[in-house]
Amino acid sequence: MSNDNVVEIEDLSFSYSSGRQVLSKINLRIPRGQVVGIMGQSGCGKTTLLRMIGGALKPSQGDVRVFGRSLRDMGQEQIYALRRRMSMLFQFGALFTDMSSFDNVAFQMREHTRLEEPMIRDLALMKLHAVGLRGAAHLMPSELSGGMARRVALARAIALDPELMMYDEPFAGLDPISLSVIGQLIRKLNDALGATSIIVTHDIQESLKIVDYIYFVADGRVIAEGSAEEVKASLEPYVHQFVWGEADGPVPFHYPAADYVADLLRGTRA
């Protein structure tokens, strides 16, 4: 059973060197072939979690296993070898600004394979075609709209047919059409490539349409999990506030501050 999990995280805790604890005792499993959402407020530790799966950060406690191998004692070479089997879409695409869309997509092929240039050309154009941007192959990142840049980044992420795809806020700052296009692409590409996907996001409505399973993270802990239907029906106060977008609830509207009246009166006295 555990062999079917691409990612397994056990009792994972992480604190920065400043002592600030970001994640505490996280447990989660990402089964092969599924699209799994990790949701929560901005700053709750979602991106940190993704970086730990990619081996960019080491756990303070607990373990992360990817493709059945523990990342804890891996050296740089082994982590790089593992990363060739996975891919990540960054929040704003992170396209290389000194290269055209085509060269961005061809980048990993040129770095990691010994394919001939005509073959790389065909493959890169196929990847761009899959996201609908073959015609934009020659454009530089500065000439692309936000949604197009995200799609080129997606084409770049699938360049070497990764087994594990990670998406860091793939819907941030997109118009409704681009949002829906990216959402559908994530699902379709996952199924077509036989990959496994992890989406870290706070865009609940769009992600509920495409994910198989959801983990809710708040204050560095998993507070709820389940399918899209289970999450929608959840009575857990935090999940309820999050899913229905209520302004006040367990997550308060006001940032902690001194007493309002006392604060205002202090100004008049001075």
């Binding site: 990363r83 600004t97 980048f107």
Partner: protein, 266 residues
Amino acid sequence: MTQPTSFAFLRALGARTINAVWRLGFATRFLLATVRHTPAAFRRLPLTMREIYFAGVLSLTIILVSGLFVGMVLGLQGYDTLARFGSSEALGVLVALSLVRELGPVVAALLFASRAGSAITAEIGLMKATEQLDAMEMMAVDPVARVIAPRFWGGVISMPLLGALFTATGILGGYVVGVVMIGVDVGQFWSQMQAAVDFREDVMNGMIKSFVFGIAVTWIAVFEGYEAPPTAEGVSGATTRTVVTSALVILALDFVMTAFMFHGVR
């Protein structure tokens, strides 16, 4: 209660010192990592060539124009002084030695730091701020090998060539003012220069200076870019630090190297 000001000052001073030592150590490890990736930079020769183009070829205008003017000013000032002692025909020697030993390497390096060093820092800093370096790392491509090493070697290779070109145009400037405009004897100008400028003592030492400045400036530039906080303010601060630190390091290194190189050989 607040602490006495002197304690706060001491504490701030201590913190700054520790921070400076820590950064120096980190920068040294970073330089070693960059040098370790030298084969990667030359395996990707087109990348290093591209950096030579950006750091070297695109700096040519400022280097050549400045060299010409510095040489012309040397011609004017040098003639004025030498004429008082009746030895204006030694103008060629004065112009050439000033440029070859000092002004060529130093002024070219200062210009290089403000033109190319700042550009390198800003580019790497922005790549970091827009997560391009993180993305590269996640693609199992080491940014130090792919981004830093080619830029480092591009700068190190360009600097001595720019220094030499600065010196050459400077001498040309001195010739134009001294010989063409003022009328110093052309034969004296060149023959005295040829006799007085030693290839090993002067030209080679000047080239060594340029090479060392190239390493220093490019090292500072790539390190500041790589270490820049990923914000607009962070990148602008790093760019400023590149220019300021480079200038101070160039002048300090110049003094040390001059003390070792020209200890009364003549």
